[in-house]
């Protein structure tokens, strides 16, 4: 399966390997939605378990964005990973899996990664108008949007 | 039981009815108007009671005040009534209003002057105990046909309303 994909995209698939029995592949951001589509349609990865991201501030391409997929038919999981720089757009997988809607919103909320073609990209867990994206490594653990708290809650600080 | 303080209650109920009737047309708020109308209807029911017509009074309360007016309120709350539009209507009809008021006033004057001749004073002591029974006998005896026609008319009205309100049945 992976071989077939590799054949199709060549260097687009940068790495496929297994760590502790879990498969993952790293692909180029440009082809990720096609790969995901193929994985769903041709390889029965019909269940998108999770979409998430990891922040590596010291890297040039700061973010890992991950799709964790599962196939009911093969009882198998796979992780699709892309690496993008800050501010780079990722094509949304909402058309492929409707579940991606909220998951991508959460990634946007927490990391500030924008998804292209998402129907309703806005904050989900934090309130509208909050400044900053908490799960970035440069966002301190006790940091908060003082201004927002003061305006909307009428208190000095939320801590 | 002999009635007590008849005159007092008559003027009380009549005054209540007239006052709330005026409120119905004078309030700008549709809900307040509807509530005033309910009070007017209740006052009327009281007047019926004083005329020894308990059945009519009961039906007045149960149908008009308890049934129809509730539906009125229901519809007023549901339907969007734009206030401005309503006020405009009031302004444009002042001429008609005056004509109607003058006509009605004239009628009252005539009735007041010729009242004795028109309605000769005879007090009928209606049997309070069997009032309802008599209505029943009359309704299903003498006026059977008219009664059935009326119910048929209502049936047609119901079907018409359903046809009008529903897009597809």
């Amino acid at each position: 399966m992976l071989a077939k994909l590799k054949e199709q995209y060549g260097s687009g698939i940068r790495e496929t390997s297994t760590y502790l029995g879990q498969n993952y592949m790293i692909v180029e951001p440009s082809i990720v939605s096609e790969v995901l589509q193929i994985l769903r349609d041709e390889h029965d990865f019909d269940y998108c378990v999770d979409i998430t991201a990891v922040h590596y501030p010291q890297r040039e391409k700061q973010f890992d964005v991950l799709w964790i997929l599962y196939s009911f038919l093969c009882n198998e999981r796979i992780r699709v990973k892309i690496m993008i720089a800050d501010g780079e757009m990722v094509s949304s997988s909402d058309p492929i899996w409707p579940t991606a809607n909220w998951l991508e919103r959460e990634v946007f909320d927490m990391f500030g990664i924008r998804f292209e073609g998402h129907p309703d990209l806005k904050r989900i867990l934090l309130p509208e108008g909050w400044k900053g994206h908490p799960l970035r490594k440069d966002y301190g653990i006790i940091q908060q949007d003082q201004e927002w708290v003061q305006i909307n809650l009428g208190i000095e600080s939320g801590q | 039981m002999q009635p007590v303080a008849t005159t007092f209650f008559f003027y009380l109920l009549a005054g209540l009815t007239v006052a709330s009737g005026a409120a119905v047309i004078m309030r700008k708020n549709a809900i307040h108007s509807a509530l005033a109308l309910i009070v007017a209807l209740l006052g009327q029911a009281g007047l019926y009671l004083m005329l020894y017509a308990p059945f009519v009074a009961g039906v007045q309360i149960i149908l008009y005040a308890g049934g129809i007016m509730v539906l009125f309120l229901f519809v007023i709350m549901l339907v969007n009534i734009e206030r401005a539009q309503k006020e405009e209507q009031f302004n444009k009809q002042w001429l008609v209003g005056i004509v109607a008021a003058v006509a009605l006033g004239a009628l009252f004057v005539v009735v007041y002057i010729k009242g004795q001749a028109l309605f000769p004073a005879h007090t009928v002591q209606l049997p309070e105990e069997s009032n309802t029974q008599q209505i029943g006998v009359l309704l299903y005896g003498n006026y059977m046909f008219a009664f059935e026609i009326a119910s048929l008319l209502l049936l047609v009205a119901i079907i018409g309303a359903v046809v009008m309100a529903k897009k597809k049945i």
């Binding site: - | 509530l35 059945f55 009961g58 005040a65 308890g66 069997s130």
Partner: protein, 426 residues
């Protein structure tokens, strides 16, 4: 003056019909007080019974077994801040609870607790009851609208639709019962006992008709009476907005429905009205189908001996309740902390027993036993209310309408027609 007062006692009619204002006033005061006590008692009983159905204890802290809890609650409600939403329609918001309470209490004018124990007997008694109780929906609609808030207005809309719908089924059931009163001159019960062929709407006359026909209308034209009663029993639960038809105040959907924005005393008025309305419709049901003030088995167990036995039951009941209270006293923990509670319970038991003893005195006994049987039947109906609440989930709005219009209404019409046919045939 004294003559005016005593003259009524010999007359065999209600104070309203006798034209005795003094006694009418006394009856009104008695009914008002009795109803308030009944609502308070009902509050405690509902919480206790429901609690025991749900494997918990219910109120236990204020007074022995929480007996004083309703009083404490009433005090709390009276002292609570009365909040009126800023943008509420002040006048309507203010009138609504009053209207609801007024209608709920007014209907008791014609409720016959006994052949002479009613404020008055109207020629249109049952019509009056239905009419006045149908006015209470106005109060609910006004409350919902005046609050100027979303949940209350949805509650108001629901309740107006619901009550108007179920009033029709209720009316049909009532009419079939009224029809039964007119059939005693013709029916199988043979001897024309002066029946004119026309029925009556008067509450007292309806019970008297059952007395003459020697049957509860519940069992008349079996099973027609039973079906009519069943329709009424369902409709009356819907009319009073109680589970499983408590959609206008559905807690889990509309927070509290039409009285969401009410607090303190105003809210307690709604509460009072709800419970007195429950008692009122139960009273209608009892009057129409279950023989009103008549004691059970008047024709099977007839005769002076049985009369005496049944007339002793009220006193026995109260004495048993008193004994029950004393058992409770014995079972109270023997700790100084509980001394006041124990004494209170003992006092309560003593009062109950005293009432029981009083009820054995012949003049009181004869006057009171009608009221006792009537109240006992109403109390059973109230217990059913609590039972429903403990057992049933809530209907959805469309299902509620379906039950009202597509089930109860056709059956009601069918029962009405069949009753009429039976009356003619038999």
């Amino acid at each position: 003056m004294l003559e005016y007062i005593t003259s009524y006692l010999n007359s065999n009619t209600t104070p309203g019909q006798a034209g005795n204002l003094f006694w009418a006033f006394v009856y009104i005061v008695l009914i008002f007080l009795g109803l308030s006590v009944a609502v308070i008692a009902m509050n405690w009983l509902e919480r206790k019974i429901l609690a025991h159905m749900q494997v918990r204890l219910g109120p236990m802290r204020v007074g022995p077994h929480g007996l004083l809890q309703p009083i404490a609650d009433a005090l709390k409600l009276l002292l609570k801040e009365d909040i009126m939403p800023e943008r509420a329609d002040k006048l309507v918001f203010w009138i609504a609870p009053l209207l609801v309470v007024m209608t709920a209490f007014t209907v008791f004018i014609v409720v016959p607790f006994g052949p002479t124990h009613a404020v008055t007997d109207m020629n249109i008694g049952i019509l009056f009851m239905l009419g006045v109780s149908s006015l209470s929906v106005l109060g609910i609609v006004m409350a919902g609208w005046a609050s100027n808030s979303h949940y209350p207005i949805m509650g108001a809309l629901r309740s107006s639709a619901q009550m108007v719908s179920y009033e029709i089924a209720m009316g049909l059931a009532v009419v079939s019962a009224v029809l039964m009163t007119s059939l005693h001159g013709l029916g199988t019960y043979g001897v024309a006992t002066g029946g004119s062929g026309t029925g009556t709407l008067s509450m007292i006359e309806i019970v008297k008709a059952q007395q003459e026909q020697q049957t509860w209308f519940l069992f008349k034209f079996f099973p027609l009476g039973l079906i009519a009663f069943f329709i009424f029993a369902v409709a009356m639960v819907a009319e009073t907005n109680r589970a499983p038809f408590d959609l206008p105040e559905a807690e889990s959907e509309l927070t509290a429905g039409f009285h969401t924005e009410y607090s303190g005393f105003r809210w307690s008025l709604f509460f009072l009205a709800e419970y007195s309305a429950m008692i009122a419709v139960s009273a209608i049901a009892v009057t129409l189908w279950v023989g009103g003030w008549m004691r059970p088995f008047p024709n099977w167990l007839s005769g002076d001996t049985w009369d005496l036995v049944f007339s002793l039951i009220p006193g026995v009941t109260f004495i048993l309740l008193g004994i029950f209270a004393f058992v409770g006293v014995r079972r109270m923990p023997k700790h100084p902390y509980f001394r006041i509670q124990t004494l209170g319970l003992a006092g309560f038991g003593a009062v109950l027993a005293l009432i029981g003893v009083l009820l054995f005195i012949p003049p009181i006994r004869d006057r009171i036993q009608d009221i006792y049987w009537f109240s006992a039947k109403v109390a059973f109906s109230m217990y059913m209310y609590i039972w429903y609440r403990g057992t049933f989930p809530r209907y959805r709005f469309d299902q509620l309408m379906k039950v009202g219009w597509k089930v109860l209404l056709p059956i009601g019409i069918g029962v009405l027609i069949l009753t009429a046919i039976m009356g003619v045939v038999l």
